[in-house]
């Protein structure tokens, strides 16, 4: 519900305590959290999604690959490029399209733009207020204006980069199966290139800044999953790997993971096939792809001395995100310096029947698409697995593990700390919602069992 202050003031049940945030703010989309404690033990920890369902898997039925690219972008206004990229790679993989190296580089550059704007949005505008003690970035700007202005400047650059390649920063329009509807001229990139030098320096300073902010203490390792590519940071391409040995082609997600139906619920949650929660996103990528970080970003990460703590304290995700922000700025600079205009922006292709499946690394983590396609190239069935729905179980497991450390705090402060933990995942509830809704797990079920 809009307008309520979010934190519930209802009295706790006599036999236990209940922490509720009816509307989690500073995340994309609408969700709430409930944590129930019984006799000092966490009985239930749940992230509830009440964002309206929009049925995207069904909306794309009957559509062509190019139409799918435009439609799935609308799953998320914050990370539309992740959806466009995953779909276009999936169809190209099925149709056997070889894209030109310059086009491949442009795709990486476009993805860098999304990392820059999305990570800058989260680091500075959504997450930083938690560390500095403000309800919003606008309130924070009064006392920390230079920090906010720096964040806005980096974010603006990410948006400019996207607009240069895709026409506009939200729901860009140039991505097509086979390439782009138009490739930029070399000169089109000059303006962005000139500003990237400064952006790299600002992002470098950002890493040091956010690493200096004290997070709540927390130590809880979870299995991590990300793409991994032998030669580059895995924005668009790589194999699906994990800290416990998974190694799969990007289209083979369903060999190791499945969407699980929780009893008494209509929500599908992703788990590993042996029933475990896992964590995606900057933390997982930094852990599994540290050697592919741009050297500038790797150096900044090393200087923080936090590479290990990032893995076990999700509140440190802001550092991982800042490192990736720096990496994306530096990668973008290199990609522009190496850019040669392709002879054709788009490779020709002919549709064929089969399964089009791929995964890319959205800013929030691994995003998987799978489309069944008929002879005419029309989708007959679709499965879209966004990062937040995969992270949901990890978030709830972290809530349960983190809760004991806040139980002695005043109720409002404890509730705030729990909400802050959810925010550390940068959840994108708009993304998750096309197949997620209310999840109800009875007290005593679920948590203690894992």
């Amino acid at each position: 519900m809009h307008g309520t202050d979010g934190i519930s003031t209802a009295p706790a049940p006599v036999a236990g305590r209940e922490f509720k945030v009816d509307y989690i703010t500073r995340v994309e989309g609408e969700g709430s959290l409930v944590l129930r404690v019984q006799d000092g033990q966490v009985a239930e920890a749940r992230l509830k999604i009440f964002e309206a369902p929009r049925y995207f898997e069904r909306l794309v039925v009957g559509r062509t690959g190019d139409e799918v690219i435009d439609i799935v972008a609308r799953i998320c206004g914050i990370c539309p490029i992740a959806y466009q990229m995953t779909a276009t790679h999936a169809f190209e993989d099925l149709y056997g399209v070889e894209v030109a190296p310059a086009v491949r580089a442009l795709r990486r550059l476009l993805y860098c733009g999304e990392y820059i704007q999305s990570h800058a949005l989260h680091v500075f505008m959504l997450h930083a207020p938690d560390f500095l003690g403000y309800p919003s970035v606008l309130a924070m700007a009064g006392d920390h204006r230079p920090v906010v202005e720096q964040g806005l400047a980096i974010k603006r650059l990410g948006n400019r980069l996207i607009s240069t390649l895709g026409g506009r920063s939200v729901h860009p329009i140039s991505v097509r199966v086979g390439g782009f509807s138009r490739a930029p001229r070399r000169g089109d990139l000059d303006g962005v290139r000139a500003d990237l030098d400064e952006a790299v320096e600002m992002a470098r300073a950002t890493v040091a800044l956010v690493a200096s902010w004290d997070p709540p203490q927390f130590n809880h390792a979870q299995p991590l999953v990300a793409l991994r590519h032998p030669r580059e940071y895995p924005y668009n391409d790589g194999r699906i790997v994990s800290t416990d040995g998974i190694d799969l082609a990007p289209g083979a997600w369903s060999e190791a993971f499945e969407e699980h139906h929780v009893e008494g619920s209509n929500a599908l949650h992703a788990r590993t096939r042996d029933g475990r929660a896992y964590q995606l996103g900057p933390t997982a990528r930094i852990a599994l792809d540290a050697d592919q970080l741009h050297p500038i970003a790797a150096e900044a990460l090393a200087a923080t001395g936090l590479a290990d703590e990032i893995r076990t304290n999700v509140h440190r995700s802001i550092v991982a995100r800042a490192v990736e922000l720096l990496g994306a700025c530096a990668d973008a600079r290199d990609l522009i310096d190496g850019y040669r205009e392709p002879s054709a922006p788009r490779a020709p292709w002919t549709p064929r029947a089969g399964v089009a499946a791929w995964s890319t690394e959205a800013p929030r983590g691994l995003l998987h698409h799978r489309y069944e396609v008929d002879d005419d190239g029309h989708v007959t069935a679709a499965q879209i697995v966004p990062p937040t729905s995969q992270n949901q179980e990890a978030i709830e497991a972290d809530l349960a593990a983190f809760a004991p450390s806040v139980l002695d705090l005043p109720h409002a402060e404890a509730t705030h700390r729990l909400e802050m933990l959810v925010r550390a995942y940068d959840p994108c509830i708009s993304c998750a919602t096309h197949f997620l809704d209310l999840r109800i797990v009875g007290p005593g079920r679920g948590w203690a069992l894992r």
Binding site: H2, T25, R63, R74, G77, L138, N159, R168
Partner: protein
């Protein structure tokens, strides 16, 4: 810092219904103006960006998203009571959005296709524009909205004048920018002649046909454009899918899509029925 006028700051709310968050993100994307705007307005409700909450009253309320659940239908009525001016932002709020494609289909069957337990999903039979439930004072078009038009709206309300937003088709934007017509020169079907501008002819500039995300221009002759597509060899299904897009539930585009057989992937109603408000006489 002294402000231009001593008048009290307007209380602004930004809320969402069924949507992708991209239109409200456009506000945060006004990076250069964001901090000055925050000084000029009192942003009292904007849960995507702030933990400060207010249930009203609002001088100006921006609403993103379509109405697609029973809760939203109740909530928008309450929000309207709290808002002196209510402005809908984007294709979802103005026209029902891409999710309104489901309005063509049997809702129960559609829901069952995505959810294992459809009975738990609270969802209205249709995804509808905000204006079907409450009075709307102004609309910003687009999927997403234009940052320039959003800026103009905010500036105009802050000084108490009408927003000046150009009413013209994408074709005129192409002409003004000397973009070669993609339909004439390359035979690419383009909704530019019937679509409200505001994007600056974005798709034609990038070598694509317009896909209508700003919605139909007033008095657009969409029937004639559809006939032109058909004359140039496009099959009915292809014509229908062009119009059944992000603003496909707008009256103008909906009737053309219906006349050419409706969008792809429709699950027919269990009890045979025309989609509500989908007249079948738009072909001639």
């Amino acid at each position: 810092m002294p402000t231009v006028a001593a008048r009290p700051r307007l209380r602004v709310g930004i809320v969402k219904m069924a949507s992708c968050d991209g239109c409200q993100l456009t506000l945060l994307d006004l990076e250069d103006e964001l901090l000055p705007l925050a000084e000029r307005f009192e942003i009292v409700e904007f849960p995507e960006a702030s933990s400060v909450r207010s249930a009203g009253p609002y001088d100006v309320l921006l609403v993103e998203g379509s109405i697609s659940t029973p809760d939203q239908a109740t909530e928008i009525v309450e929000l309207r009571k709290q808002a002196k001016r209510l402005v809908t932002i984007g294709a979802c709020a103005n026209h029902g959005g891409i999710q309104a494609l489901r309005n063509w289909s049997d809702h129960d069957a559609f829901r069952a296709a995505v959810y294992a337990h459809p009975e738990y999903v609270a969802s209205l039979a249709q995804s509808v524009p905000v204006s079907e439930l409450v009075t709307v004072d102004a609309e910003l078009n687009g999927c997403p909205i234009s940052p320039d038009q959003l800026r103009e709206l905010l500036v105009s309300v802050s000084v108490g004048r009408r927003p000046q937003i150009r009413e013209e088709s994408v074709c005129l934007a192409c002409k003004r920018r000397s973009v070669v017509c993609v339909m004439v020169s390359q035979g690419i079907p383009c909704l530019g002649p019937v679509t409200q501008s505001g994007c600056g002819a974005l798709c034609p500039r990038f070598g694509r046909g317009c896909y209508g995300c700003y919605g139909p221009k007033e008095q657009a002759n969409a029937v004639s454009l559809a006939r032109a597509f058909a004359w140039t060899g496009r099959q009915d299904a292809e014509v229908a899918r062009l119009f059944a897009g992000f603003t496909g539930w707008s009256g103008t585009f909906r009737s053309v899509a219906a006349a050419y057989g409706g969008p792809p992937g429709v699950i027919p109603y269990a009890v045979p029925a025309e989609p509500k408000g989908g007249p079948d006489d738009a072909r001639d």
